[in-house]
Amino acid sequence: MPDDYRRTLIRQISQHAHSEVVGQLPEGNWITRAPTLRRKAILLAKVQDEAGHGLYLYSAAETLGASREEMLDQLLSGKAKYASIFNYATLSWADVGAIGWLVDGAAIVNQISLCRTSYGPYARAMVRICKEESFHQRQGYEIMMTLARGSKEQRAMAQDALNRWWWPTLMMFGPHDAESYHSQQSMHWKIKRQSNDELRQKFVNQTVPQADFLGLAIPDPELEWNEERGHYHFGEIDWEEFSRVIAGKGPMSRDRLEARRRAHEEGGWVREAALAYAEKQGTRAAA
C-alpha cells in the first residue's frame, strides 16, 4: 500500500471518527431536557449510535496501523480536525430536530457515497453506519414535523433552528471543488467518489421539498429551481465563517474539546481499575 494513500486514509477516517465522537455533545446537551420520555429514549439511542459509529471508524483506522491512543491524543490536543458543524451551539429543542434532519441528512449523502470508497474496512464501516443513520434523520424530521404543526411559538422555534443550521450544514460538504486541496488526489485514489459540490447539490435538491412540506422557509433568497440545469440554484456560502470555524474559532470549539478532555480524564480511573482487575484475575488463573 502506498504511504500517501495510507496517510490520507488515516487522516480522513480518524477525522470522521472524531466527528462522530464530538457529535455526541451538541445533542447530549438535550438528553436531560427532552420534552417526553419517548423523545428522551430516542435521543439516548441516537447519541449511543454516534459513539458506536466513532468506534467502527477508529477500528477501521487501526487496521492501517494508527493506534487508538495516537488518534485520541491528536483529538484532545486540538491537533486533529473534526466536522466543524459540531462547534455550533444547540440553543433549543428544535435544534435536536434540525440536527437529525439536516446534519444527519447531509452526513448520509456523504456517507452513501463513501460506501464505495476504495479501502474495504472504511467502506464496510460506512455501510453499517448508513443503515443506522436513516433512523437519525427520520427522528429529526419527525421532531420538526411536530413543531411545524404545533403552536405559533413551536413553529417559530422550528424556523429559527432551520435558519441557524442551514448554512453550517451546507458547509459540511467542504470547499468548492476548485478550492479543495485534497479532493483531486482522493478522487484519483477513489477514496472520494463524488465531489464536494456534487454532493452539496444533491443534498439541497432532496432537502428543499422536505422544507416545503414542513411549511418552513430555507434562509436563502437566491434559492430557486433551475429548469435548465435540473437542480436548485442556491446562494454562496459565507466562506469566511467556514474558515473561521475550521480554524477552531467556532462558537463552541473550546467547550467541545474541554468536554472531551474532561470525559477522558474522568474515565481514567475506570480504565485503570479495569486493567488492575484483569491483571489480578490473570494472576489468579495462572496460579
Partner: protein, 96 residues
Amino acid sequence: MGKTNQHLPLWEVFIRSKRGLDHKHVGSLHAADAEQAMQYARDTYTRRSEGCSIWIVRSADIHASQAEDSASFFDPADDKVYRHPTFYDIPEDLKI
C-alpha cells in the same frame, strides 16, 4: 504519568447472525479483559439484534498469513483445476 496511560488491549469481534451461517468478523475494540470486551462488543456491534452469538479474541493471538507470501503460499491450489465442477465435460442436456 500513572497507570491511566496504560493501553487497553485490542480485541477482534466475530458475530453470528440469527439467520445462521458462520461467525463473521465485524470489527475490533479495546477492553481490559474478556468480560469487558464481551459487553463492549454487545453494545458496539449488536444494538439492533444483529447477532445471537459473539466470539471475541485478543488481536495479539491471531496469526495471519502474510500478504507478500500469498502467491507462493496459495500456489498449491492453482494447478488443481479438477477440484472445480466446471472442469468436467458432461453433455449439457443431462441434469448433473
